[in-house]
């Protein structure tokens, strides 16, 4: 049984951020993730919005961490080499009632320390983006867009480079205390750790109960999305959100993605299924209807894909009131940090929350007389080669000269080269799935959805990783792509 200082349960954006922040210290850490890759749950099933922080209750962790996370993100994106753009955001209204609700949130935002919020009229909206719907808007200059999968992967790779380990396809099934350590049972081997940090996202309430904390009451607010073609992406430059409803919820919005697509969604409805990520016919119809109000070019010819995510919110079991994030470390549950109900704006808050979790851990260590030293070899920078499609023609020429694989385009829609696919197949986390390559390179993410390149990529995975056809999987460990060979003649 392997022994670590810290076991982090969950390889979503929170688990990976905690692993990265922990790797600043001389502590051995392991991330236990049930799926074959990081960011397969709700960390990848959201809008990819860096929130400004104008909708959250003043004084709440959500408000505090969102503002903190927003303000520092230019530096974070530069360190991790992830694409990020401060687009600003329009919260648009049609009626006087909308205006009242928007003004309410403007006041909250100002209380939370969000800078630059101002009301603008249709004329100014036209200057910002004529395809944005609505009659008037609140303009929030500090909002931004990023790729939440790239961000989570970057955090994980940076943590990995600084010494954290990742055990993928390890589902935690039970936790018990033996002496001064926890023994964590998984569907593979057991792992021992002095500390356990719960970052289990959709399953955080279950892990919380395993650790001796309450099984917090949560409700799943599911939302579905359309992904639109880049041909729609060139027609939208700024996220467009509708006025919040009376409860402060935002319904279907339209957001440009950092890679040039448009996301339309999410809607919001309650689900019981922990991983109920299926799209429903009637919800998709609703997105088409409501999305058209936010983005005037919401057209069927632009549809590429759908997905869904679930915000598991801590709620008051009596009143249903939505509660704040929980970050706690209680004496009754020694050497644990419990993060529960981390939903939107979880991407924005990931590093601020991770710092708070690490702080609780360090305080606990100190109380037990342990002095944790800083990891002097910690490097916050996660290098990443420029993408072929981002290069100028001179850069492309130089890249091909240095490595001819840059001259072989595998994914036609997104212009992803063989060099980039190979790099993704040999990623530092050891992810071997088809979607692992997809989320790292954008191959298969374009308008043909892998019609051209998927067959080439599975062939490369087989050759590079020396696996049999049956061993290739799409996203999940049991998501096999092939039943075998057609004829046994190779």
């Amino acid at each position: 049984m392997k022994h670590y200082d810290v076991a982090i349960i969950g390889g979503g954006v929170i688990g990976c951020a905690v692993a990265r922040e922990l790797s600043r210290w001389q502590l051995s850490a392991v991330v236990l993730e049930k799926e074959p890759d990081v960011a397969t749950g709700n960390s990848s099933r959201n809008t990819g919005m860096l929130h400004a922080g104008f909708t959250y209750k003043p004084g709440s962790l959500k408000a505090e961490c969102a503002v903190e996370g927003n303000q520092e993100f230019d530096r974070v994106a530069a360190e991790l080499h992830i694409p990020f753009r401060r687009t600003g955001k329009l919260v648009v209204g049609f009626t006087e009632h909308d205006r009242e609700n928007i003004l309410k949130f403007k006041a909250i935002g100002e209380k939370n320390g969000v800078k630059g919020l101002r009301m603008i009229d249709r004329e100014e909206m036209n200057r910002i983006d004529p395809n944005a719907g609505g009659e008037f808007a609140m303009y929030a200059p500090s909002s931004g867009i990023l790729d939440p999968m790239q961000y989570t992967i970057a955090l994980a790779e940076n943590a990995c480079r600084n010494g954290a380990q990742f055990l993928l396809e390890h589902r935690v099934t039970a936790i018990h205390r033996e002496g001064e350590s926890y023994v964590i049972e998984t569907d593979k081997e057991e792992v021992a750790a002095r500390w356990v940090i719960n970052c289990a996202g959709a399953y955080a309430a279950d892990i919380s109960a395993m650790l001796g904390y309450p099984r917090y009451y949560q409700r799943g607010f599911k939302g579905e999305y359309y992904v639109l073609d880049k041909k729609a992406g060139v027609q939208l430059s700024i996220p467009v959100y509708p006025a919040p409803n009376d409860k402060g919820g935002f319904m279907t919005h339209a957001t440009p993605t950092i890679d040039g697509n448009v996301l339309v969604g999410p809607d919001s409805y309650i689900t019981e299924g922990r991983e109920d990520y299926a799209n429903r016919r009637e919800q998709l119809a609703g997105l088409v209807r409501d999305g058209g109000k936010m983005f005037k070019q919401m057209r069927a010819e632009y549809f590429i894909r759908n997905f869904a995510g679930i915000r598991w919110k801590n709620c008051n079991p009596e009143t249903g009131e939505v509660l704040d994030f929980i970050v706690e470390s209680k004496r009754e549950c020694p050497n644990t940090v419990n993060l529960v109900g981390i939903e939107s704006p979880g991407i924005t808050c990931a590093l601020p929350l991770a710092r708070r979790a690490v702080k609780l851990l360090l305080e606990g260590e100190k109380a037990q007389g342990r002095e944790v030293k800083a990891n002097n070899r910690f490097d916050p920078v996660r290098p990443r080669a420029k993408r072929f499609y981002e290069m100028t023609i001179e850069e492309k020429t130089a890249a091909i000269e240095a490595n001819p694989d840059y001259g072989q385009i595998v994914c036609r829609c997104e212009n992803v080269t063989r060099a980039e696919i190979l790099e993704a197949i040999h990623n530092p986390l050891g992810v071997h799935t088809l979607t692992g390559v997809k989320n790292r390179t954008r191959a298969m993410m374009g308008r043909c959805q892998g019609g051209y390149c998927q067959t080439r990529i599975t062939e490369m995975i087989e050759q590079e990783l020396k696996v049999t056809p049956e061993e290739i999987c799409y996203q999940k460990a049991d998501g096999y792509v092939f039943t075998g060979k057609v004829r046994d003649c190779e």
Partner: protein, 410 residues
Amino acid sequence: MRNADVVIVGGGPAGLAAAVRLYDLGITDIVILEREHQPGGILKQCIHDGFGLTRFKETLSGPEYAKRFVDEAQKRGIPCITDTTVIDVSADKVVTAAHADGMIVIQAKAVILTMGCRERTRGAISIPGTRPAGVMTAGVAQAYINLQNRMIGKEVVILGSGDIGMIMARRMTLEGAHVQAVFEVLPTPSGLPRNIEQCLNDYGIPLYLSHTVTDIRGEGRLTGITVAAVDERMQPIPGTEKDYDCDTLILSVGLIPENELTIGAGAELDPKTKGAFVDEFCQTTVPGIFAAGNVLHVHDLVDFVSMEAESLAEGAAEYIKNGSLPKAGIAIACGENVGHTIPQRISGEKSFHLSLRVRKVMKECTLTVSQGEHVLLTRKMKKALPAEMINLNIDAKKLKGTDDLEVKVV
């Protein structure tokens, strides 16, 4: 930057045919750029027969059909640079491509776009449900089975009665899979009658018209789907849902001309064909940029793809010599029951080839090409199917003046 008279984007049946005919017309400074390792386009994976009946009066497999053109191009020494992906075509005809030896930039006098088409995906038609492995387009299934020797599943359902879907129903059956059924959302089949006979009926595979997939289940791998009958607006009829257990769902739900480079070059697209607007020379709205084959409009037979590409050679050669072609000022309107036409505009100075598709199945009907009150051509037809292209030759001498034309089928 190098120069060439003609750059052809795509070495499939259209690109190769255009190259050979251009060469024979005296335009020999040609470069074909092909993204795959071998020329031949999608035909490489179409190992069934039935190709060439119109063009060669004999039945060939896809690779055999392609080889005829590959051989002709090679005989003439026309360079085909493979493993080369064109990433940009500019309006002034500079073609930029990526290759392992470096970026290729060519200033052409004329550019011929023959990129073919891609398949519509699950996302494009918004099929609800989960997103497991085992859902793929017919072309991907075909590449895996025919080119890579990889078997993709055992219990199969097919959505869409496109030709490739039906051909894959037969192919999967022959390789030991169980194909449960083919479902088609339209009230009429999308593919050719001969494929319904030879690929479905001969193997006892049922075809259900006016049905669609309303749910997809499974987490890792596909475990099942739900199918429902649809009404005349193609909406599922409540109460008609039926579940099918399967590990594979193959989609054959339409083809879309692959026109990203065309758009980049500034050519206007016809929303009806999703390909470029062209004149009778297959010239797009950007002078000197031509398009033919499935990139222009989706064809039923590859024979017509090659013939269309061959037909553009004369105009392209004239353009290369003179730097211009007669202005196409006469529009061709789609009248009753006509889905689209190619070309959409003509100069009126030349006899031309007209191809079109009807919108619905029709029996004992008459096709009329008219110019105002003046009728240029009528053709009586026993039947007309949306799945089959209608091809006509129109004599320029029959045109009267420069009024627009209209084509209708009633």
